[in-house]
């Protein structure tokens, strides 16, 4: 009964460990996504609430990344609607979704290899620059002011993620763990309301995972950013997230707090396998 209240109700509440969770920010209703004859996502509904850390988990090929791509506007679902802040989202290009305040990182790092760390992060602020090309061409008042304001905002993020030492380094030269961090910085530079993280800890050692977990919690805490993340490390997922969606073969098989999901028989079957008779 309590679970239903959390799932459907739009009223803010406080979690067991005292975290403030707001109303529904993004509501996905009956999303179905097909690639030719393959149904990658089969009529899935779930929501993301203001200020929470929402995890999407599931075995490989469950459709988690496709789900994230639907949210960020890269895939257009054949059926279903996306509601953002209470209004139905019209068909949009990915960059328009980004400018609505949805930023993301990628499973396989998608940084701009030919650019410096600083330029990569500055690219994240694309939506905040208003001056037109002519003004930029002569580097006049407004262009310069916006550039410097952006730089200041970016420097705050650089401080926050402790990557001061590499700000002028070309991204191609960085080790994997730092690239992941720069990618997070680029997403944060957009000052998003909703941050999507696609396997932020894939391929990291324990120490790097701990660092990254701390950054995710701090982002959520200090900037109040809502976070939806895909992750395979169950320990991390259960510790970080407020609510978890479990997917398997494109279906939703569980949704709730980490404890509820952990004890859900269908989830256990999906992860451990079940005897077919």
């Amino acid at each position: 009964m309590k679970q239903d209240a959390i799932m459907d109700d739009n009223t803010p509440f406080v979690t067991a460990d005292g975290r403030q969770i707001g109303g529904v920010m993004m509501d996905l209703r009956n999303i179905t996504l097909r690639f030719g004859g393959v149904e990658a996502i089969k009529s899935i509904s779930f929501n993301i609430r203001e200020g929470e850390i929402r995890a999407i988990i599931g075995p490989n090929g469950a459709g988690k990344s496709s789900m994230l791509n639907v949210i960020s506007g890269f895939y257009k679902p054949q059926e279903g609607e996306v509601y953002f802040r209470g209004t139905k989202r019209p068909p949009m290009k990915p960059y328009q979704v980004a400018r609505q305040g949805v930023a993301r990182t990628f499973q396989n790092i998608a940084l701009f290899e030919g650019m410096s760390v600083l330029d990569n992060i500055m690219t994240g602020r694309m939506g905040h620059i208003k001056s037109n090309m002519l003004v930029q061409a002569i580097w006049a008042g407004k262009a310069q002011r916006e550039e410097d304001e952006s730089r200041e905002a970016v420097e705050r993020i650089i401080d926050f993620l402790q990557i001061q030492a590499i700000r002028k380094t070309p991204v191609g030269r960085l080790p994997y763990g730092l690239k992941k961090r720069v990618e997070l910085a680029r997403a944060l530079a957009a000052e998003p309301d909703l941050l999507l993280l696609d396997e932020p800890m894939a391929g990291m050692n324990v120490e790097e995972k701990e660092d990254m977990s701390r950054f995710i919690l701090d982002v959520n805490d200090e900037f109040g950013t809502t976070i939806a993340l895909i992750e395979h490390d169950m320990g991390v997922v259960m510790d970080l997230s407020d609510r978890v969606v479990v997917m398997d073969y494109g279906r939703k098989i569980g949704d709730g707090t980490p404890d509820e999901v952990r004890n859900n028989q269908e989830v256990i079957d999906a992860y451990l396998g079940v005897a077919h008779d």
């Binding site: 960020s72 506007g73 890269f74 290009k93 990915p94 960059y95 980004a98 400018r99 930023a103 993301r104 990628f106 998608a110 940084l111 701009f112 290899e113 030919g114 650019m115 330029d119 500055m122 690219t123 994240g124 602020r125 694309m126 939506g127 620059i129 001056s131 090309m133 930029q136 061409a137 002569i138 580097w139 262009a143 310069q144 916006e146 550039e147 410097d148 952006s150 730089r151 200041e152 420097e155 680029r186 997403a187 957009a190």
Partner: protein
């Protein structure tokens, strides 16, 4: 020791975002500018202007233009010659239709017309990439040359099919036509080079430049983090063509004076400018200058060595020249695929530590 950033502190982001963050670079830049503007005009002669400096400056503009499109935005173009022709013919039509308007305005307008044409031919880039786009721009090259040959309105129905630049004055001095002094030719080209380089630098270090580079490095990720690919690609085509158009206008009006389109702006011109940016360095303004200098100077230097120093016959040297230029291009691409600009960067990194590298 000689070249270092130690002690060169920045206290504001404005200072850190300068074109030349290091004081030493700034001094070097201003010395270069002083020599180019205040010394060379007084010592220049016809030979230096017509065989070295004027073509170098004009090709530098074209190379900056192509570098914006190919080096910064990653869209390969083989249509540079065609777009230079658009600039040249636009300039010619403007010069003959509005003889009272200053030639400087005509040249800028010619650039603007080329920008529109370039953006139109850039539309396929929204759907196709890489080699396929290169072929599409090749089509632009052939179409434009054909158009300027076929439609006699473009060359004012002249019997030869050529266009030739009438004499035009800037501040009382002829800058086009046969009686143009060498220093005036040089100065008008230098003016446009400076203008284009400053604009290109400002655009590439700011937001629009980052959106180009983002599209170049990973277009899908760029779109997802908020870059409008339509806008980024079309502005790259437009800005690039603007510069290429100015280069074409100068090439016709100031440098050659009379032009036959297939000869002056054929496919070989497209390849020449492409070689310049590859040898100079993709995605670098300095590289555009270096590549232009390399490909303009090299034949002249080889000819001087062959004919004047070694005393070989001229035709033999001319053939050797082709072989040597070709071999050098291959050598360069193998040894340093990122071009002269990268060599310069490496040299600067070494100089920072020299003579105590540890």
């Amino acid at each position: 020791m000689l070249y270092r950033e130690a002690g060169d502190f920045k206290t504001t982001y404005v200072a850190d975002n300068q074109t030349f963050p290091l004081k030493l670079d700034r001094i070097g830049f201003w010395i270069t500018m002083a020599v180019a503007w205040l010394v060379i005009p007084f010592v220049i002669n016809d030979y230096w202007a017509s065989s070295l400096l004027v073509p170098f400056l004009i090709y530098a503009i074209a190379a900056i233009g192509l570098n914006i499109l190919t080096g910064y935005c990653g869209q390969v173009s083989l249509g540079t010659g065609g777009f230079m022709a658009v600039g040249a013919y636009a300039c010619y039509k403007l010069m003959t239709s509005f003889p009272d308007v200053n030639i400087m305005i005509h040249i800028v307008l010619a650039g603007g017309i080329t920008a529109v044409v370039g953006a139109a031919f850039g539309l396929p880039s929204l759907r196709i990439k890489g080699f396929y786009l290169a072929v599409a721009t090749l089509a632009a090259q052939f179409f434009l040359v054909w158009l300027f040959n076929k439609v006699s309105w473009f060359y004012n129905y002249s019997a030869s099919g050529q266009i030739s630049a009438p004499e035009r004055l800037v501040a009382g001095v002829a800058v086009t036509g046969p009686s143009t002094p060498a220093w005036a030719q040089y100065l008008i080209c230098l003016f446009f080079v400076t203008l284009c380089a400053v604009i290109a630098r400002n655009l590439t270090r700011g937001t629009i430049g980052r959106s180009w580079m983002a599209i170049r490095d990973m277009d899908i990720a760029a779109e997802i983090i908020g870059v409008n690919p339509l806008k980024a690609k079309l502005t790259a085509f437009a800005v690039s063509s603007f510069f290429v158009g100015i280069a074409g206008a100068l090439f016709f009006a100031v440098y050659l004076g009379a032009v036959e389109v297939g000869e002056a702006f054929g496919i070989q011109k497209s390849f020449l400018v492409l070689f310049m940016i590859i040898i100079g360095g993709l995605g670098s303004i300095f590289g555009s200058f270096a590549g232009a200098a390399f490909l303009v100077l090299l034949p002249v230097a080889l000819k001087w060595i062959g004919v004047d120093v070694m005393g070989w016959p001229t035709d033999l040297v001319a053939h050797f020249q082709l072989v040597i230029v070709g071999a050098l291009i291959m050598f360069f691409l193998i040894k340093e695929p990122h071009g002269l600009a990268q060599l310069w960067r490496l040299a600067k990194e070494k100089l920072r530590l020299w003579p105590f590298p540890y």
